[in-house]
């Protein structure tokens, strides 16, 4: 991609989570979120009243290299015990293609939701975030669609490749990263439903 710099600034809002569970029981503690890009990480503030349906609405800004070295950003939800110990509820990996390139034009505010899985690969809730890639100084907002979308005729091929690539990356990297059956459990290809609370 023809970016002048190798880093882009991301505005990430950690909005909320739904149905957080630890050992199949709803979380009742204070929860917070950690975003990791490359080696760097940032925390959201703690949510106290929400329990298993926390609302953080916390905006953070992070830089992301765009030279292809970062293909995922990771989000982990943790809770704090009464003694101040921090324990993991679950984590999710966000492929960069979900908010850059693909269907997301530049400057688009992406509302994204992901399934959280705990260290055993079991479902432990859903996390809702929004991500905006801040336009570079010289870029006009919504100026140019990403290269993969310029030629409409090639589009279908591009997109399915991109999707396939994203999937491929997902599996290889997740099975490398987590040895404890994470990849195996995810690649079912069967829609598996998990109940979530509808807001009324």
């Amino acid at each position: 991609m023809s970016y002048s710099t190798t880093k882009r600034s991301l505005e990430i809002e950690l909005i909320s989570a739904e149905g957080l569970k630890v050992d199949r029981k709803p979380v009742k503690r204070k929860t917070f979120c950690v975003v990791r890009i490359d080696e760097k990480s940032k925390n959201s503030k703690l949510d106290e009243p929400g329990g298993s349906y926390p609302v953080w609405k916390d905006k953070i800004e992070m830089e992301m290299p765009v030279n292809g070295s970062v293909r995922f950003i990771s989000i982990e939800v943790l809770y704090r015990t009464g003694g101040g110990v921090e324990k993991s509820v679950g984590h999710a990996k966000i492929p960069v293609t979900d908010f850059m390139g693909g269907f997301a034009p530049q400057g688009h505010l992406n509302f994204l939701s992901y399934r959280l899985r705990d260290e055993y690969g079991d479902k432990s809730g859903i996390v809702n975030v929004s991500i905006m890639v801040k336009p570079e100084g010289r870029d006009i907002k919504y100026s140019s669609p990403s290269p993969s979308m310029v030629v409409p005729a090639d589009y279908a091929a591009c997109s399915s490749q991109a999707a396939a690539a994203a999937n491929g990356q997902m599996w290889t990297s997740s099975s490398q990263a987590a040895t404890v059956g994470y990849g195996r459990r995810v690649v079912t290809g069967v829609p598996v439903w998990c109940a979530y609370q509808r807001p009324f």
């Binding site: 009243p49 997301a104 994204l112 399915s160 829609p191």
Partner: protein, 584 residues
């Protein structure tokens, strides 16, 4: 049940009615819900003979099906159709541990003056282990049955106080006759209004009602209707162990609170898992008064109603409104009439599962006598509606699952056969393109939706990058037999954050179970194989056989969810109608 005391009371502690959790959610009382249908009819001089009615339910003296605690009741309302079958209209929330529940969730039904609408109410005791589950997904056969009651809607509407009390009846095996309690139904006509108020409430110095810890307070807001009955409209979440609680923002629509001068009863309770929530204090304020409180940084004192002296005891506890914002919530029609464009795209199923076009049983039957086949009928009926709402009547039209001229199977070919340019004009354009495709394309397979969904998503995303006020609707006309469920889910989830809805129109009589899964109506969000979850519900499934059997009109069926899906997109992004002043 029985383990109610063991701690899983989370479900009972959540807020109901007017406290938003997901940024992309629309309020359940969507005033614009039938606007789109209304507008369609009115434009042709047909005024719909119905009005929207909101029913509030309450029950008393329900039977107890739990051993160590009380029942956790939920009511389900059905409409009895002509053939005697019950069609579910709506469900209330689950009230924890109560034999005299007052449900907050309202059930909306359109009152048709000329029809006899028989309503059937079923009351269930919902097992504790389902308490964290959205009520729409509950399987009713897993729940304990508490009885049922029936009445005719016009019966309620003609009563002076617009309410009826019905005796619950039920079959509990041979020879068992028990008093099952009563169910009261209160009806109100809904007011379509755009005003919404958002308030941040907190309290200080609440009385302590718990022995070993502090109170667990929550607020319940009720509106006093004409006959001085208080109808609860919203409840905040429970703040544990706190005498100075701060609650999440409460968002009330004018539909909920009536007018700014309607008195509202605000009660503060101490949450008890056994259902005996103890009243801490109560105060009566209209929305206008609450606004004044916030403006002048004043407080409202809670009082405790006294039964013996007739004088209420004024308490130390105070209610504070930290923030009061009045917003205008635009309706679907506000957007459309301001110049927000709807653009439809059409994709037709050319897979072999539809049957050989030469046989008369085929859905694609090429009738020499010129009679329309199932697809043509569907295109004609659906086309009339989308043509009305599409701004330029130009539709990109594709086919999928067919073997095209070069001998390859394509999952997104141009219906008009052109190698470049997929747009056709009007319903006639779709019909002509369809007829030519039927001649030039051989039915093949497999059935993949993902290519057409991706193509639609691409168009939507391009329009987005040009910052156009446009919303897209992909219409897939199919026999409903899907080969690649996982791929379709992935494509739909990928597209769920774009200004796009997918309307799947099912023709024929195949098993539409897969389509129902894609239509994430039952409160479940679609999940892709990569673990991404659909940002919002963008799919609606319309089986044509229901339209043809006269159960719903094609307009109603098609436009049922579209306004809501559209609004969930624009509202989550604070997009206003074109030229409208920005919301505060």
């Amino acid at each position: 049940m029985g383990n109610c005391l063991s701690g899983d009371v989370e479900g009972g502690k959540q807020a109901i009615g007017g406290v938003q959790q997901r940024p992309t959610s629309t309020t359940t009382n969507n005033a614009a819900h039938n606007d789109a249908v209304d507008f369609f009819f009115r434009s042709r001089g047909q005024f719909p003979l119905f009005s929207q009615i909101e029913l509030s339910l309450s029950a008393s003296n329900l039977i107890d099906r739990d051993i160590t605690s009380k029942s956790d009741p939920m009511a389900v309302m059905y409409l009895r159709k002509k053939d005697g079958k019950l069609e579910e209209i709506g469900r209330t929330e689950v009230v924890l541990n109560s034999l005299n529940p007052k449900w907050i969730e309202k059930i909306t039904v359109s009152f048709q003056f000329e029809a006899v609408q028989t309503l059937v109410f079923h009351v269930y005791d919902v097992d504790t282990r389902y308490h964290n589950v959205p009520v729409k997904t509950l399987k009713l056969k897993d729940q304990d049955y508490l009885g049922e009651a029936t009445c005719v809607l016009s019966e309620i509407m003609t009563k002076p106080n617009r309410s009826v009390t019905l005796n619950l009846a039920g079959n509990f095996g041979a020879g068992v006759s028990r008093k099952l309690g009563t169910l009261s139904v209160q009806a109100e006509e809904t007011v379509a209004s755009k005003t919404v108020v958002e308030m941040d409430f907190r309290c200080v110095n609440l009385d302590n009602k718990d022995l070993f810890s502090k109170s667990d307070p929550f607020l319940r807001i009720s509106r006093i209707v004409e006959n001085s009955v208080a109808v609860p409209i919203c409840r905040t979440e429970v703040v544990d162990n706190n005498l100075n609680p701060v609650w999440r923002p409460v968002c009330l629509t004018m539909q909920q609170f009536g007018s700014k001068d309607t008195p509202l009863v605000i009660e503060c309770f101490d949450f008890n898992s056994n259902g005996n929530h103890e009243l801490i204090g109560t105060t009566e304020k209209s929305v206008a008064e609450l606004e004044r409180l916030s403006l002048h940084k004043e407080v409202a004192r809670f009082v405790y109603p006294s039964t013996s002296h007739g004088r209420n005891k004024v308490l130390k506890g105070q209610l504070i409104v930290d923030r009061f914002v009045e917003k205008v919530q635009y309706s679907f029609l506000d957007y459309i009439s301001s110049g927000f464009e709807l653009n439809f795209m059409v994709a037709v199923d050319f897979t072999a599962s539809n049957g050989d076009p030469r046989t008369s049983s085929s859905l694609h039957y090429n009738d020499p006598s010129g009679r329309l086949n199932s697809y043509q009928k569907a295109i004609m009926e659906v086309g009339e509606v989308i043509q009305f709402y599409d701004s330029d009547r130009r539709f990109p039209a594709w086919g999928f699952g067919g073997r095209i001229a070069d001998g390859s199977v394509s999952h997104a070919f141009n219906l008009n056969g052109a190698s470049y340019g997929d747009e056709v004009v009007g319903v006639e354009g779709i019909m002509t393109a369809y007829a030519s495709a039927l001649h030039n394309v051989a039915l093949a397979g497999p059935t993949l939706f993902s290519h057409v969904v991706d193509r639609a998503a691409h168009i939507a995303s391009q329009s987005l990058s040009q910052n156009n006020p446009k919303y897209f609707v992909l219409l897939i006309i199919t026999d409903g037999v899907l080969t690649d469920m996982a791929g379709t889910l992935d494509a739909l989830v990928r597209a769920s954050d774009l200004p796009l809805s997918v309307l799947i129109v099912g023709v024929g009589n195949a098993d539409f179970k897969q389509m129902e899964i894609l239509d994430a109506d039952k409160g479940r969000r679609l999940e892709s194989s990569t673990g991404r979850i659909a940002t919002r519900d963008i799919v609606q499934f319309v089986p044509m056989r229901e339209v043809h059997s006269g159960q719903v009109s094609v307009v109603q069926a098609l436009l049922e969810e579209l306004p809501g899906q559209f609004l969930s997109y624009v509202r989550s992004r604070n997009i206003n109608p074109v030229g409208a002043p920005p919301a505060t």
